[in-house]
């Protein structure tokens, strides 16, 4: 029998949500094409095809679901993953990363929505762990293959003009970082369409910028890419399954990502500061959801207990962040990845596979 309600919100299915995210990401693909031409397109296509094929094969084999790869989430993972790499990355590395992102980042958790970590960022860490070239500076020297050097919308002779030009188009950094303008527009589109809310990007960027400002007061020079920060905070930190789902939780989560990325930069994490921070907070998301559960109607909340819980949680997050800085220093992150592979494979075989047809 059909239970209430007997009407549904229109144009609000999962595929509609995914489609909106893809719309927001397409302009960035265009910017990547403008900067590096078919080199960029080739890498992005490799990622998309690998993700779709992996998603299809795995779902068909384990879950007997034959069209779930069409829900659009694999495409988003592929786009986001390729947006974090340099255009000089070999195609097979991207293919490997995409495969790992889908398998270890999503499917072994039981499929769409059940992943604890952002698949694209996880895929990126897999690439770094298995291909040492990914963490060298050489991979970022992209001058030789650049398609068009720069594009001047505004006259380049004033400081303001140069600044504005850089916002519209700037060809340094990873594939998704060339146009701050498009990133922000994509973010605004998603906020208007209610696919993400402003809380996470806003808090990440505010705390992060405050952090850099304070550090500069102490003469510490922080090396970071602002476009990368904005891209990550709008598109990666807001990934629905791996981020908290209430506004207070989101504010906390965003602030902690901002704070922890400052720590990582100060701890000499050169390229991975943002992906480490997001993945770290992803791990804490279930706890954040618990602690920041909204106050139910008419419920009386003991705020002292709640504050204590938040304090302990913060302490735990900072401790883990310091541990990661240490591991990174000794180049041990790859062992973390190996352990993760073993863990998630076991978990899948003994537990998650039983719930593969459960929607939650």
């Amino acid at each position: 029998m059909n239970l209430n309600p007997h009407i549904k919100a229109k144009k609000n299915s999962v595929s509609a949500i995914m489609f909106d995210v893809i719309i927001a990401l397409v302009p960035l693909v265009l910017a990547a094409y403008a900067a590096f031409g078919f080199t960029a397109i080739w890498l992005i296509t490799t990622a998309v095809i690998t993700c779709l094929v992996t998603d299809f094969l795995f779902n068909a084999l384990y879950a007997k679901k034959y069209n779930s790869f069409l829900d659009g989430s694999a495409i988003i993972t592929a786009l986001l993953l390729s947006f974090t790499v340099s255009p000089l990355t070999p195609w097979y590395v991207v293919a490997f990363g995409s495969f790992c992102a889908i398998v270890f980042g999503k499917l072994l958790w039981g499929g769409l929505g059940k992943n604890r970590f952002n698949p694209a960022l996880l895929g990126r860490e897999f690439m770094t762990a298995f291909f040492p070239i990914m963490s060298t500076a050489a991979i970022w020297s992209t001058n030789s293959i650049r398609n068009i050097k720069d594009f001047h919308l505004f006259a380049n002779d004033s400081l303001l003009g140069m600044y504005s030009n850089n916002l519209v188009f700037k060809t340094t950094g990873a594939l998704g970082e060339y146009s701050m303008l498009f990133i922000v527009l994509g973010g605004l589109y998603l906020i208007i369409r209610k696919r993400i809310s402003w809380h996470i990007p806003f808090t990440i960027l505010t705390i992060f910028l405050c952090g850099t400002w304070i550090s500069s007061a102490y003469d510490l020079e922080l090396k970071y890419s602002i476009a990368g920060m904005v891209l990550g905070s709008i598109f990666m930190a807001t990934d629905m399954p791996s981020s908290p789902n209430g506004y207070p939780g989101m504010l906390y989560y965003g602030s902690m990502i901002g704070l922890v990325s400052i720590f990582f930069i100060l701890g000499n994490v050169r390229f991975e500061y943002l992906s480490y921070s997001i993945l770290l907070l992803n791990g804490f998301t279930p706890f954040i959801n618990q602690i920041f559960r909204p106050r139910a109607w008419g419920e009386k909340v003991d705020y002292a207990v709640k504050t204590e819980k938040i304090f302990l949680l913060t302490l735990a997050i900072i401790t883990v962040a310091l541990a990661i800085i240490t591991l990174h220093y000794y180049d041990f992150i790859k062992y973390l990845i190996y352990i993760y592979i073993v863990y998630i494979t076991f978990k899948f075989n003994f537990s998650f596979i039983k719930n593969i047809h459960n929607p939650i």
């Binding site: 309600p5 999962v14 929607p359 939650i360």
Partner: protein, 418 residues
């Protein structure tokens, strides 16, 4: 949460009559318990005759909506109904005439009880009990004019067309409860009612106010309405009267008016007939006990995969047996296409939690109802859920939230009973 109101379809049509059905199925159940019939199979009954009553604490009564022959008790969807075959003669019994204007509070309560007046918003709590105070003071008497369910306009139509009757009813109730003020809660989308209502303020010797409410769902939920009007956030399960609040629904006021001023037991109410697949749409006087099949035959464009919903589209019940009747708590009958479910995994979007008027986390109910984890269900406060359906309406994955909620509540009931 905002949802499409779809009220424009039936908002400005007058309340019309429809032909009575050849057979009635009178519900023999009320707020609690079962009504006992006092007539026999084969017996001829006149219109307005008392057919069944409950003599327990929550006593209420059921009267004949038409004259005809009783054909026994029939179980429809697991509940007993008294079948009455209409002879279309409309032979009515003579009821003792009341001089309603002079009635004493106790006499009014007695009429409400004898005439089977119940809350018309859905829960069907006996009205005479609601107004029966034990020396409590009442600060505010809230008139629930927030018909927050999409499609439904029956209360709107009454407020628009039967304003004077509603005010007469309020004045009589005020004799009993003596609230310091009366507040109408109506939604902003219906603000044209303000001038209509204001014209009748002069009839009252107590202050009357109108509070415009946001067009969100579920604004007409008791707890949400009380908060909007008095700023008090009552936990679920608490009695409004303990907070010096009495609420009544527009449909109930109309039934009270008919009882006190026209000497009619509760045998008829106003409902909205509407829905995507309905042809004849509007607000109609319909007898209690009219089976939905009768309305369906009058109104539907028959198609595959249709369903009939008793009540609103958000909280109403899809009938499996077309003999299911309109009850005293039915505000509408809708003919809707069956919805297609998408069935993806929960993507933790949090839309359900944002939509939940009780600020719960519905996805957790889906998680823990599956594993029958009562501790988690309780600590996520499943019992505070008002079953409004907002979470399932918005969920992009069509996670079976309502099924989990009902299932979870069942588990909890069983464990508490043990």
């Amino acid at each position: 949460m905002h949802i499409l109101s779809l009220k424009h379809i039936t908002k400005h049509v007058l309340i019309e009559n429809i032909p009575d059905p050849p057979e009635f199925y009178l519900p023999l159940y009320g707020y609690k318990g079962v009504l006992k019939t006092i007539v026999e199979t084969g017996q001829y009954v006149k219109k307005y005759e008392l057919l069944a009553q409950a003599e327990d604490l929550f006593s209420t009564a059921m009267h004949a909506p038409a004259s005809g022959i009783i054909e026994g008790i029939e179980i429809i969807e697991g509940k007993p109904h008294l079948k009455l075959v209409n002879d279309f003669k409309e032979t009515a019994i003579d009821l003792p005439l009341q001089k309603s204007v002079q009635l004493e509070p106790a006499a009014i309560l007695e009429i409400l009880k004898q005439y089977g007046i119940e809350g018309s918003g859905g829960a069907r709590f006996p009205t005479h009990l609601k107004y029966n105070l034990r020396n409590e003071d009442v600060d505010v008497f809230i008139i629930n004019g927030a018909e927050c369910e999409p499609y439904l306009t029956a209360d709107y139509a009454l407020m628009q067309n039967k304003t004077e009757a509603l005010f007469k009813s309020i004045i009589s109730i005020q004799k009993i409860i003596k609230a310091k003020k009366v507040v109408f809660g109506i939604e902003k989308q219906n603000k044209e009612l303000v001038t209509i209502l204001k014209a009748f303020y002069s009839l009252c010797d107590f202050p009357v106010e109108i509070k415009l409410l946001p067009n969100t769902y579920p604004q007409g939920g008791e707890l949400q309405l009380i908060k909007s009007i008095t700023k008090k956030e009552l936990p679920k399960g608490s009695r409004p009267l303990d907070h010096r609040i009495v609420l009544s629904n527009i449909g109930t006021l109309w039934a009270i008016y008919n009882a006190l001023f026209h000497n009619k037991p509760y045998v008829e109410r106003v409902i909205t007939l509407s829905g995507e697949d309905a042809v004849k749409k509007g607000n109609f006087y319909v007898k209690i006990g009219t089976p939905v099949s009768h309305l369906f035959n009058l109104s539907a464009s028959k198609k595959e995969r249709q369903q009939i919903v008793l009540g609103g589209p958000m909280m109403g019940k899809a009938v499996t047996d077309y003999k299911s009747p309109v009850t005293k708590g039915t505000g509408g009958v809708l003919i809707l296409p069956e919805i297609q479910n998408e069935k993806y995994n929960c993507i933790e979007c949090g839309y359900c939690a944002n939509a939940c008027p009780q600020r719960l986390m519905p996805m957790e109910f889906a998680r823990y109802a599956k594993t029958e984890n009562t501790t988690q269900l309780l600590s996520h406060r499943l019992l505070d859920c008002i079953e409004c359906g907002a979470c399932a309406y918005i969920c992009p994955s069509d996670v079976p939230l309502m099924r989990s909620i009902y299932h979870g509540k069942e588990i909890l009931q069983n464990t508490i009973a043990l």
